[in-house]
Subunit: 320 residues, 2 copies
């Protein structure tokens, strides 16, 4: 990875504003690494289901304005390179599959516990996206009948609304204001809001409210994960995202719940681990996806005869 940049952005600002911002940031980064660095391809990960063949989001619950938007077309017009668009968690799973904890593992799961919650499924050695790109979308599965648990997707009782970073941050603000957490009160004073990151760091530093919140989130995520493990029988489950940064607390709660709730056979050879890629799994996965598609035997042959593997019909690169 030559250069990486991380920013907080409200995806609900819509595709035009978001992609213009991403494009400007990418231009800056190209400038920084030197304009002589050629761009061979681009991969875009978004927090919602994507029709992988067309590169368009499909009714994404938390991305108003993005349904059917031609992300690939937008990026291609700007950089004239082949473009792949995928769900962000699928790219993280790909990163783990190619270079991380699930390297070469044919049956694996990646779970992102960050602002939102999602899973990437590796089965038979392949990322599985399902019929409409929503495979692994566990964030909006109902985990409670409590009608007061309102999700940002508009439904009630979603996993994300109980254990997602945005839901934890909402609850944490109340706790901080009620004087139940010195750590979170300090964060609120410091930057005027509480982020999932603050809660994870608070837990790591032993703040009682943060510890309680992260442990509970781990148990709730663990229960949903147990269902995935029972159904899919992976040999590695990798946990990533901001919430997983709480030291061993979140991992321990997830692991304990998964082993307790799963069929013995499904956990016999199961490892539950934290990502080793230090939040670069999505970037590495996106790059791996593009490399995989660009450097096939088929495209390499064209490269030899025509001078560039990209000098071919791009639909060949995009086919799923």
């Amino acid at each position: 990875v030559l250069l990486a940049r991380r920013e907080t952005w409200d995806i609900a600002r819509g595709p035009e504003a978001t992609l213009a911002h991403v494009g400007a940031g990418f231009d800056d980064m190209l400038e920084e690494v030197g304009r002589q660095t050629p761009v061979w391809g681009a991969t875009i990960g978004v927090p919602g289901p994507v029709d992988f063949a067309s590169g368009e989001p499909v009714s994404p619950p938390i991305m108003p304005g993005w349904d059917g938007f031609d992300i690939r077309g937008w990026v291609t017009r700007r950089y004239d390179v082949p473009v792949w668009v995928d769900n962000d968690v699928n790219l993280m799973a790909m990163g783990e599959l190619v270079h991380g904890t699930a390297r070469g593992v044919p049956n694996a799961l990646y779970v992102k516990a960050g602002t939102g919650i999602g899973a990437g499924i590796v089965a038979g050695g392949q990322i599985q996206r399902g019929a409409t790109g929503s495979a692994g979308d566990i964030g909006h599965i109902a985990v409670t009948d409590d009608p007061t648990v309102i999700c940002r997707c508009g439904q009630t009782g979603c996993l994300e609304a109980v254990a997602g970073g945005w839901a934890l941050a909402q609850a944490a603000r109340g706790g901080a204001e009620a004087g139940r957490s010195p750590w979170l009160a300090a964060a609120l004073t410091d930057h005027g809001e509480i982020l999932a990151h603050d809660i994870a760091q608070g837990a790591r530093n032993g703040d009682p409210l943060c510890v309680e919140m992260i442990a509970r989130a781990g148990r709730v995520v663990g229960e949903s994960l147990a269902t995935l493990v029972n159904i899919l029988n992976p040999s590695v489950v990798t946990i990533g995202g901001t919430i997983a940064d709480s030291g061993n607390l979140f991992l321990a709660a997830v692991r304990e719940t998964v082993y307790r709730r799963c069929l013995p056979l499904a956990t016999r050879d199961l490892s539950v681990v934290v990502s080793s890629l230090n939040h670069y799994e999505g970037i590495i996965g996106g790059a791996s996806l593009a490399l995989d598609r660009i450097f096939t035997p088929h495209t390499l042959e064209r490269w030899v005869t025509r001078g560039s593997p990209l000098d071919i019909d791009r639909s060949l690169l995009y086919s799923a």
Copy 2:
């Protein structure tokens, strides 16, 4: 299909007795179709997880004595043909994938609702067996905390113990003896026991208790299926097994629950249908599996040069 035979057998009688019985039956059938019919291969489906590469059951919950038994070796010694062993529901899913309702569908589920309950997962066009062969084993996932719901696997609260044919038959006996079901009372008088088949037929004929039991089983199976659909995002769900024979009642209850409990995106293009293969899906799937492995380009090439595609190292045929 040249010939098929169906028998009720207690798998708990162990591998030696069971395979001897199956072998004797198969010899009879060979006699019946004429000894000149060559046997090219054999596929054995069992109601439990199988390590597909070795062909051995892996800690199967309801198959005492079968753990690690060399089924392939037993059958090979008897018929000297290549042998594949798989979970029975995986073979049914394969049948639907090759010749049934899921023909050519890359993302599909098959659910067997018979004596037991299990699912076969097709993702990325392939049957997915998981790391230890237990992918799709939904029968022993806990669906209730009620400690009085005891499963034949030894655990409590399993899906099978609530909605499996054997559990329904147990409950039905009580209903028949209490005079709540003329249909089941007649079945009990007629053959001294109640089978899942009797309940399905009773429901088809409007017996009130049978209708109630099948509708409830459909709702419970539907809830577990909704989770599978949310996670895997298939485009076809096929239902088979004895319980599905109750006319439209079971299908309607499953379908209604799946559509109500799933994310809208996961059901947008989803069909929930009954198997069209009339209980032959497992036989057709088993044959397809063997044909797929025997007639690869690689083996056909050997056939041309050596006279038989089977005249090669069999481990090549078995590799997953």
